[in-house]
Each structure stands twice: as structure tokens, then as C-alpha cells.
Amino acid sequence: MEQDAQLVQQCLQGDGSAWEELVRRHTRRIFNICYRFTGNRTESEDLSQDVFLRVYRTLGSYRSAHGGFATWMTSVTRNLLIDHYRRTKRDRITDSLEDKMPAVENKESAGRRPDEQALLGELSGQVQSALTRLSPELREAVILRDLQQLEYSEIQQVLAVPEGTVKSRINRGRIELARILQHMGVRPS
């Protein structure tokens, strides 16, 4: 974390290699957040690029005293993801009318892969699919807590909401996810 702050300082002094190091360190994490939120690799790639572009432009506004660079970057990512969600809401409604049942596809493919690894892969696909059906505010809370393993205080900082709200969203997100999975026909063995 301290190393990130040091790299940021070097970037602000015009050190391009420090920026390259920051990009190298955080690309995978940011791409994963975007991918888990959107469920689409191409969109995630574009969004990751936008995140880094915005971070690069606003690097001067980062204050290490207010929290870690990773948390700050996650916050930027979250804001961009919410913007993206609002921007593409209309497209998604149209798409969902045309292509309504991805769960059926999952059920059919479940019978073709009997081995455990394949089942695990199948479950991962179903969980990812269920995740993208959560409302964005529950989705981001679940992603930050259960996939990015952030502390409640860090999530509170990223989402800019009280800790009670964070806990409530995570709880509701998990329950909602279980319901979606159940609705998709995925039940605990």
C-alpha cells in the first residue's frame, strides 16, 4: 500500500515507469471487478481502460492520508461501473426481451459435464450469471465483500455509505443471489 503511494508520488513527478508499474499491479484486479459486475469481457476491457484513464487524469487528487490507493481506485471503478450501468440500462432491457433464458442454457449444459471440475466450472458460470442479475447496489456490495475480500470499512469508503448500510446490502445481496440461483435451478446438493 505504501509502495502504491510512493509510485503515485513518482507519477506526479512525471515518472512514466512508475505509472507503468501501477498499471501492472492493478490491471487484473480492476478487470476482475469490471468483469464480475458486467459479465462481459469486452465491456470489462473497455471499462478497465476508462478506469485507468480517469485515475491517470485525477491522480493529483489522491490523498494517501484518506485511505489506500487500491481503495481509491476501487471507488473510481465503482463510480464508472454505476455510470456504465445507467447508460446501458435501456440496451439491457431490449436485450433481455430478445434473449431471455440464459438459465435454460446452463441447465442443459449441466448434464454434459459429469466430472467435478466441470461442475465447478458450471457453477461458476451460473453464479456469474446470477451475479449480473442482482441490482447494481447489491451487486457491487457482494463483489467487493465476497470476491474482492474488502473489509466493511473499506467498502464503506468505496460506496460512501454508512457501515450499517454496507452490512445490510451485503446481507440482502447474498440472499438475493441465493434466490436467483434457486430460480435458475441451482440448488445445494
Binding site: 515518472d15 512514466g16 515507469s17 505509472w19 507503468e20 498499471v23 501492472r24 490491471t27 487484473r28 478487470f31 476482475n32 468483469y35 464480475r36 469481457r41 476491457e45 478497465s48 481502460q49 485507468f52 484513464l53 491517470y56 465447478l120 457453477l123 461458476s124 451460473q126 453464479v127 456469474q128 446470477a130 451475479l131 457482494v142 465476497d146 470476491l147 452490512k167 451485503i170 446481507n171 447474498r174 440472499i175 443471489l177 441465493a178 434466490r179 440461483l181 434457486q182 441451482v186 440448488r187 445445494p188
Partner: protein
């Protein structure tokens, strides 16, 4: 403690995160084990959570880092150029360049290149070589002469020390007093002081011995004025 279905739903994350007090845990277990609504809910959420934990990190596309760097820092060629220009400011490079410049100056000076009146012809390899060769021979000859002189001086010094330490030799060299000479007066037969004369004779003799022992140096010794 009386546990309800609403409490189960509200505090499910606390249960999953292991944040229950022992009394809460007991009440929760007692309720969930007997409640037809809560048991599948808890099992379903635990299963979903397991699914979330089983999600592996996806690899970012290989070209993503490059695309980000291009969007922020510019094209790779520009980045490389900037990196190279930046490396010029490093002390390591400056020291290297200074030493290279010093070496070039030394070589050019040694090869007889004139910095006051520089000529392109002076930089021709053949010219540099011939000048450097001439300079090297001159330096070698001067060095050889210097070493020879040093040896001669050393030999003389050694002989003088030997004479000083050997009384028999010294007695032979002591001049006999003239019978007519009055004490405290000179008879003008020896223009120099007796001690100076003795030393001069001794040095001359030593030089002759040296000349016979080192014929190569005889020219050099011959040039010296014998006192």
C-alpha cells in the same frame, strides 16, 4: 432467546461471517433446525457464497496493459523514447559519458591532435596512427633515458657510500700535507679545498669505473662534466 424468521434473514451475514455470540448462535441453530422456511434459506445462501468463493480470478487480456499505457502515456515508441531520454539524466550515464569524453581527449592529445587548430585530416586513422606511433616512440625513448640516468645516479650514490664506509680506501685518498706548507696558509698548489678535491677525485674515479662496467651508458656519462 426467542429467534424468528425475520431475525434469520436480517442477521444471516453475521452468522456466515461468524459474528454471533454463543447465546445467539444457540438460538439461531435451534430455530433453523426446526424451521421449514429458514433451513433452505440458510443452505441456499451458504451454497451461493461457496459459489462466489469458487469463482477464480479471470486473467485480463494480454493487450489490456498496453492499451491502457498507450491511452495514458502514448504509443510504445514514444514511451521508449521518453524512457531513453530520462535515462540520459541518470548519474550512471553522465559518469559513463564523462569517462568516454576524457578517454577521447587523452587519445586525441596523445595522437598529436591540435584542439586550437583542428583539422579534419588530423582525424584520419593513418594520421592518428603515425602520430601516436611517433609519440609512443618519443615517450619510450625519454622514459628509457630517464631510467638510465636514475641507474647511474644510484650507482654513484652506492659507490660513494661504500667509500665513506671503507677506511682503507679513504686513507688512500687523503692528501699528504706539504712539508713546506705553513699551518693555516695555502701554497696555491691545490686551488680547491682539500676535502672538495678529494671528493671530486673520488667521483671521477667512480665514473670511470662505471663507464667501464656499463659501456652503453658511457656516452651519457661522458657528457657529464667531470669535476
Amino acid at each position: 432467546m426467542n429467534w424468528t424468521c425475520e431475525l434469520t434473514e436480517a442477521r444471516l451475514s453475521d452468522y456466515l461471517d461468524g459474528l454471533f455470540q454463543p447465546a445467539e448462535q444457540s438460538a439461531f441453530n435451534l430455530h433453523v433446525n426446526t424451521c421449514e422456511r429458514c433451513a433452505p434459506l440458510v443452505a441456499g445462501v451458504a451454497h451461493a457464497l461457496g459459489g462466489l468463493y469458487a469463482l477464480e480470478q479471470v486473467e485480463a487480456p494480454a493487450q489490456l496493459e498496453n492499451a491502457i499505457l498507450t491511452a495514458t502515456l502514448g504509443a510504445p515508441s514514444w514511451r521508449n523514447l521518453r524512457r531513453w531520454l530520462k535515462s540520459l539524466r541518470s548519474p550512471r550515464f553522465v559518469y559513463s559519458m564523462a569517462s568516454v569524453a576524457a578517454t577521447i581527449v587523452v587519445i586525441l592529445t596523445a595522437s598529436g591532435f591540435s584542439f586550437r587548430k583542428p583539422k579534419l585530416a588530423d582525424l584520419h586513422p593513418a594520421t592518428i596512427y603515425s602520430k601516436a606511433d611517433r609519440q609512443a616512440h618519443r615517450v619510450y625513448a625519454q622514459s628509457a633515458k630517464f631510467v638510465s640516468d636514475l641507474r647511474v645516479v644510484y650507482e654513484i650514490q652506492t659507490r660513494l657510500n661504500e667509500n665513506d664506509q671503507n677506511p682503507a680506501t679513504r686513507e688512500q685518498t687523503i692528501p699528504q700535507a706539504s712539508p713546506n706548507k705553513q699551518p693555516g696558509r695555502t701554497d696555491n698548489t691545490n686551488p680547491s679545498a682539500p676535502k672538495q678535491q678529494n671528493r671530486a677525485d673520488e667521483t671521477g674515479r667512480n665514473l670511470r669505473v662505471l663507464a667501464s662496467q656499463f659501456p652503453v651508458l658511457s656516452g651519457s656519462i661522458g657528457e657529464r662534466r667531470v669535476p
